[in-house]
C-alpha cells in the first residue's frame, strides 16, 4: 500500500536546489504516436489494418504481414506481469537519482509484451492495468498499475513524477477576475493544493467573486498580465513558490475583421491572450524551470486555458480566435523551452463557456466553470498535455483531425445568398 504523501517540510535555505534531470527523450517518429496518445491520457498501440496484429515496440511495417498500414488504436489495458526487476544502478542520471527503480515485463491481453514501469502496489505476477503517461522528458511511457485502485496510489513517487498533481503544491491563478477562477480555486483546494494565489488586475474595479475567492482562502495579489512591471513584481514575490501556474487571463469580444472596423479589441486580445502569456512566461518561467526537481512540491506544470478556436477560426469570435491561435502556438514554443527542465505545459481547450457573458447569444452546449475546473485538476493529476473539455471542444478536435481544410470550410460558410 502506498504511504500517503506528507506535506513537504519548509525548504532549507542553505541547501542548493536540485537541478532537473530527465529520462531519455529520443524516440523514433513512430514511437511519438504513443506519446501523442499519452498526452491526452489514452493508451494506444499500432494494430495492422490488414492482418490485425497488434505491434510493440512501434514499427514502420507489420511484423506479421509487412503491411505498412499500422493505425494507432486505443487498447484494452489488461495484462499480466510476467517478469520484473528492480534496477539498482543506471548510467542515466535521472534514474540514478531515483533508485531503486521497478520495471517489468507485462504480457498484454491485447497481444504483445511490453516493458513498463511498475507501480509499487503491484504484486509479483499480478494482473495489471497498463496506462500511458508522459514522463519528465515529455514522452509517453507505459505504467503497470494495480488492477483496481489502491489507497493513495497517486502518492507513489513514480506517479508523482508522471503527473503534476496539485496535492501539496502551490498554485497561481493568474487572473482572479476570470469567470472560472472561483470554481478552479475550489477544485484545486479539494485536490489538496497547499496554497492558492490569484493575481488581481485593476483592484480599483470591484467584482463580485472577490468575496468568494477570499472565503475560499485564496491569497489575492495584484497583477495585471498586460502590465509587465506588475507581472515581474509578483514573480519576484511568489515566483519561487509557484509550483503550478494556471493562466486564466483572457480578453474576449465578438467580432472578426470587417465587423469591428478597428484594431482596438484586437490589441487587447493580443495584450492579454498572447503577450500576457509571454509576460507571465518570461517572469515566472525561469524560476519554475529551476525548481522542477525541488522535491514533493517541485514546480510541475504550466496550464493554459485556450479556446478551441485556436485550432480553426471560430466565427463570430474571429479576431479572438486568432489571438487564441497565437497563444496556442506560443504554448508550443513554451513546451520546447520548458522541456529541458521537465516542466509540463498543459493546454486545456474548451468551447463557449457558461459564465462568460459574451457567449450569451450562442446556442448550447456550453462549458461550465465547474467542468473546466474538473478538467484542469484531472489533467494535472494525470500529467496530460492536451485536455479537451466539453462536447464542442471534442467535436472540433475530431473534425480538425479528420480534415483541417474541411473543418475550415465548415467554419467559414458565408450564408445562403440570393
Amino acid at each position: 500500500m502506498t504511504h500517503p504523501l506528507a506535506p513537504p517540510p519548509k525548504k532549507n535555505p542553505q541547501k542548493r536546489s536540485v537541478s532537473p534531470t530527465r529520462p531519455p527523450e529520443v524516440r523514433s517518429r513512430a514511437a511519438l504516436h504513443l506519446t501523442a496518445a499519452a498526452a491526452e491520457g489514452r493508451f494506444a498501440l499500432q494494430r495492422c489494418a490488414e492482418c490485425g496484429k497488434v505491434q510493440y515496440p512501434p514499427r514502420d511495417a507489420c511484423s506479421a504481414c509487412l503491411s505498412t498500414d499500422l493505425p494507432w488504436q486505443d487498447m484494452a489495458p489488461g495484462g499480466t506481469l510476467i517478469a520484473e526487476t528492480t534496477v539498482q544502478t543506471s548510467p542515466r542520471l535521472y534514474f540514478r537519482e531515483r533508485m531503486p527503480w521497478r520495471a517489468g515485463t507485462v504480457q498484454l491481453d491485447a497481444g504483445p509484451t511490453v516493458l513498463a514501469h511498475i507501480h509499487g502496489d503491484v504484486a509479483r505476477h499480478a494482473r495489471v492495468r497498463v496506462v500511458a503517461r508522459l514522463d519528465q522528458a515529455g514522452q509517453g511511457v507505459l505504467v503497470a498499475l494495480p488492477e483496481t485502485d489502491t489507497p493513495n496510489m497517486e502518492d507513489d513517487p513514480l506517479m508523482r513524477a508522471l503527473s503534476a498533481d496539485p496535492k501539496h503544491r502551490r498554485v497561481l491563478i493568474t487572473d482572479a477576475r476570470s469567470a472560472q477562477a472561483p470554481a478552479l480555486a475550489r477544485a484545486l483546494k479539494q485536490a489538496g493544493a497547499a496554497i492558492i494565489f490569484a493575481g488581481e488586475p485593476e483592484s480599483w474595479r470591484p467584482y463580485p467573486q472577490r468575496a468568494e475567492l477570499q472565503a475560499l482562502g485564496v491569497e489575492i495579489l495584484p497583477m495585471d498580465v498586460t502590465d509587465t512591471a506588475s507581472v515581474q513584481k509578483l514573480a519576484g514575490e511568489i515566483g519561487g513558490k509557484t509550483d503550478i501556474l494556471i493562466n486564466t487571463a483572457r480578453f474576449l469580444r465578438p467580432g472578426g475583421v470587417l465587423d469591428r472596423g478597428d484594431t482596438g479589441f484586437a490589441r487587447d486580445e493580443l495584450e492579454v491572450n498572447y503577450l500576457g502569456l509571454m509576460r507571465l512566461a518570461q517572469a515566472f518561467g525561469p524560476g519554475m524551470c529551476a525548481r522542477a526537481a525541488d522535491g514533493v512540491n517541485a514546480a510541475a506544470a504550466w496550464v493554459n486555458l485556450l479556446s478551441v478556436g485556436a485550432l480553426s477560426n471560430a466565427r463570430p469570435f474571429g479576431a479572438y480566435s486568432a489571438s487564441q491561435a497565437g497563444a496556442y502556438s506560443l504554448s508550443q514554443s513554451l513546451r520546447a523551452e520548458f522541456r529541458p527542465s521537465g516542466l509540463r505545459v498543459m493546454n486545456v481547450f474548451f468551447g463557449p463557456t457558461e459564465e462568460d457573458d459574451w457567449y450569451q447569444p450562442l446556442p448550447p452546449p456550453r462549458v461550465t466553470a465547474l467542468a473546466l475546473a474538473r478538467s484542469v485538476v484531472d489533467g494535472l493529476q494525470r500529467g496530460l498535455e492536451d485536455v479537451w473539455c466539453g462536447d464542442i471542444a471534442q467535436d472540433l478536435r475530431d473534425r480538425f483531425r479528420r480534415d483541417p481544410k474541411v473543418l475550415e470550410r465548415e467554419m467559414t460558410l458565408g450564408g445562403e445568398g440570393a
Binding site: P24, S28, A31, V87, T89, F95, V141
Partner: protein, 391 residues
C-alpha cells in the same frame, strides 16, 4: 531442413587476444589493429598478404570496415562487417569459410574489438537500437542488466532455478580466469561472495554482470592446404549455424534461435553434444549460458540447473566451460566478447591454450548470442571445431 554443404578444407589459425583493459584512452581502431597485427605475426604473414577482412565493433563510429581498410592500409578483395555482438564470431566464421571454399579470398582475418572510455558504455547504450530507444531505455535505463534481469526472473520462476545455480557457473569461470593472464578479474570468487554481492537489477547482482573493458580478438581463416604450407596449427570447422529473431511470439525469452537449428548442427558435425571436450557459451549473464546448454542439446529445456549441479565446469573438470574465464571473469571488450569463446576454442583444439589448456581437447562447441534489440537477444550462432593440426 536439408543439411548444408560441408565446411571441409577450411582452417582456423592464428588465434590472438590482446590483454584487456578496464578503461582505455585508445580507440577501437587501435585495438583492432593490435589484434590483427598479433594474429598476422602469429601466422608469419604481412598485412599485404591478407585478401579478406571481417570486422565486428561497436565503437568504430563514424567508421565501418570500409574506413578501416584505408586506416590500416589493407587492400582486401573480400570485406565484411558483422554488427551482431555476441553472435559475431560464429557468423563471421560461416561467411569467411564459404568465401575460402569458393575461392573469393585466400586469407581472411576475422577481428572484433572495442575500446572503453569512461563514458563510452553510457553513450553506446544511448544509440544501441531503435526499439531499445523507444521501449526499453525509458524504463529505468538499466541497459542489458535490466533486460537480462527480467529474463532471469522469468527463468527462475518458470524452472525453479536458484541463484546458486547461476553462481556455480560464475564461480567456476573465475577459477578458470585465474589461469588466464589476460583476464581482467584476478581474485578468486566464492559462492558466498557471489550470493552476497550487491544487487544490480534484481535478481541480477554484481557477479552476474560482465565488466565492460577495452580489447580485441582475432583469428585467420584459410584453406587447410595453406595452413599446412605455412606450418601452422589449425582447427577445422565441423559445423556452424546461425539464426535471427527466432521465436518472436514467445512473450519472454526462455529459449534462443539454437533450438531451430540444433539438429542441423549436430547432423552436420557428425557427432553429438556429449562428445565435446569443452564448451564455450556466450556468457554476458549466466542465465544465457544456461539457455545455450539446454538449447544446444546437453539437456532438456529447464533442466540446465539440475544438469550442471553434477558437473565440474572448470578446466580440469568433466564439463570444461568458458575456459578462459569467459566474459564474466575475463571482461567484455565490446564486440570482442562475441569472439572470446571462438578464439579460446581455436587455441584449445590446436593445443595453444597454455595455462587454460584442457588436456587433449579435440572437439569444442562455441556458441554465440547477441543483440538485445528490445526485450531479447536476436542473434544466435554456434560452431563445432575440431583439431586439424596441433602445435
Amino acid at each position: 531442413m536439408a543439411r548444408p554443404a560441408s565446411y571441409e578444407g577450411v582452417a582456423l589459425v592464428a588465434p590472438f587476444s590482446t590483454p584487456y583493459q578496464r578503461y582505455s584512452i585508445d580507440t577501437a581502431h587501435h585495438w583492432i589493429a593490435t589484434a590483427l597485427r598479433g594474429s598476422l605475426q602469429a601466422a608469419g604473414l604481412k598485412p599485404a598478404e591478407l585478401d579478406g577482412f571481417s570486422v565486428s565493433s561497436f565503437t568504430l563510429f563514424p567508421d565501418t570496415a570500409v574506413g578501416l581498410t584505408q586506416h590500416l592500409g589493407l587492400c582486401p578483395r573480400w570485406l565484411d562487417h558483422i554488427p551482431m555482438g555476441g553472435a559475431s564470431a560464429g557468423v563471421a566464421l560461416r561467411r569467411a569459410a564459404r568465401a575460402i571454399q569458393a575461392g573469393d579470398a585466400e586469407i581472411i582475418a576475422c577481428v572484433a574489438g572495442d575500446t572503453n572510455h569512461i563514458d563510452s558504455f553510457r553513450q553506446l547504450l544511448s544509440s544501441f537500437s531503435r526499439f531499445a530507444m523507444d521501449a526499453s531505455y525509458p524504463y529505468g535505463y538499466g541497459g542489458p542488466n535490466a533486460s537480462f534481469a527480467l529474463l532471469t526472473d522469468r527463468y527462475m520462476t518458470e524452472y525453479g532455478a536458484t541463484r546458486e545455480d547461476f553462481g556455480r557457473l560464475c564461480v567456476a569461470q573465475r577459477d578458470n580466469a585465474l589461469k588466464n593472464p589476460n583476464a581482467v578479474m584476478k581474485k578468486p570468487l566464492t559462492m558466498q561472495q557471489y550470493l552476497d554481492a550487491r544487487p544490480i537489477a534484481e535478481p541480477i547482482a554484481l557477479f552476474d554482470c560482465v565488466m565492460p573493458c577495452a580489447g580485441a580478438e582475432a583469428f585467420l581463416v584459410m584453406s587447410e592446404e595453406r595452413a599446412q604450407s605455412l606450418g601452422l596449427p589449425y582447427a577445422r570447422l565441423a559445423a556452424a549455424i546461425e539464426r535471427h529473431n527466432a521465436h518472436a511470439d514467445d512473450p519472454i525469452q526462455l529459449r534462443g534461435g539454437w533450438t531451430m537449428d540444433v539438429d542441423v548442427l549436430w547432423d552436420q558435425a557428425g557427432m553429438g553434444p556429449q562428445e565435446m571436450n569443452l564448451v564455450q557459451t556466450y556468457d554476458d549473464y549466466p542465465v544465457i549460458s544456461m539457455m545455450q546448454i539446454e538449447d544446444l542439446g546437453f539437456c532438456a529445456k529447464g533442466e540446465g540447473p539440475a544438469y550442471l549441479r553434477n558437473k565440474d565446469l572448470t578446466i580440469s573438470g568433466d564439463f570444461p566451460h568458458n575456459t578462459s574465464g569467459g566474459q564474466l571473469s575475463a571482461g567484455q571488450a565490446g564486440a570482442a566478447g562475441g569472439f572470446i569463446g571462438m578464439v579460446e576454442a581455436i587455441r584449445q583444439v590446436t593445443g595453444q591454450a597454455g595455462g587454460t589448456q584442457v588436456p587433449d581437447a579435440e572437439r569444442a562447441l562455441v556458441s554465440g548470442f547477441g543483440m538485445i534489440n528490445f526485450d531479447r537477444g536476436l542473434c544466435s550462432s554456434a560452431a563445432v571445431l575440431t583439431t586439424g593440426a596441433r602445435a
